[in-house]
Amino acid sequence: MMYALEIFISALLVIGGIFGLTGSYGLMRLKDRMQRLHAPTKASTIGVGTALIGSMLHGLMIGTGFSWQEVLVMVFIFVTAPITANYLSKVHLHSRHYDGKIPETGVSRDWATFDKTTEGAEPLLPSRNTGHDS
């Protein structure tokens, strides 16, 4: 039983390592900035995920108990990583490497990064909505 668990944890770590390495290799190999943004999202999901699961199971195995903090690490990574990626791509749209190839919005207003009007977004928060009306 112990032996099987050990094999399982090792397999998780190896898988995580392979995905982390692939992510870093992708950073090197892909050619433009937006493409390169895709590589680290991979390393941060599977790579970190499997390493953390391995670490939690290891805690169980050596008798220090299942460490719940690592569940939180995963939750926080899943919540914060998209925001980083969003900001990186917004910065890219304003940088001098940007080639102006994004499509039109198809609605009356431009993409939020380029929009110069000061009106709020349309899914208005209800309380603000009533504030304007009254």
Binding site: Y25, G26, E104, T105, V107, D110, A112, S127
Partner: protein
């Protein structure tokens, strides 16, 4: 009264859970601290988050999370294959425009986060009116297929959960 003390009940519950996960043990002292945090943090941050989101079904939300985790694993393998084996000139990188029907800001944020976390697509921007998302896709020979996939797989589920 209770509503005024706890403007975001789910946030309060989540804070209690987070605190217990952080201290990693069951003690009365931790419970007192957790309840203190669950009361203070929502009250302090309430001005920035005036409305509480509607949550129709907690079970649907959990099954959504599991679905996304599964998709993340599958998409990881696909993207790893593209990065490792696909010749560079064959990679068709494309911008995809996704019109969205969701209205609640929380649901839109969830959708944008989901799209970014599934490797191969990144949410780059939103139209100023909040009705279209701009998505960058690593390999999209057919951008319309990606748009339809996002709408049918994630958006309909989020609509059921939040609206």
């Amino acid at each position: 009264m209770l509503r005024r003390l706890y403007p975001h009940p789910y946030l309060s519950l989540f804070l209690v859970l987070t605190w217990f996960l952080l201290v990693n043990q069951w003690k009365i002292g931790s419970l007192v601290m957790a309840i203190f945090l669950a009361t203070a943090i929502p009250l302090i941050t309430a001005p920035y988050w005036p409305t509480s989101p509607k949550l129709n079904s907690l079970r649907a939300l959990l099954s959504y999370v599991l679905l996304v985790l599964w998709d993340v694993i599958l998409a990881n393998i696909t993207v790893a294959k593209i990065v490792l084996f696909m010749p560079q000139d064959k990679i068709r990188t494309n911008w995809v425009r996704v019109p969205i029907d969701l209205k609640s800001p929380e649901a839109i944020a969830m959708l944008a986060g989901t799209i970014t976390m599934t490797p191969g697509t990144v949410t780059a921007d939103m139209s100023a009116c909040g009705r279209v998302l701009l998505i960058h896709s690593l390999h999209a020979p057919d951008p319309d297929a990606i748009r339809d996939d996002i709408k049918s797989r994630y958006e309909t589920r989020l609509k059921r959960i939040f609206e």
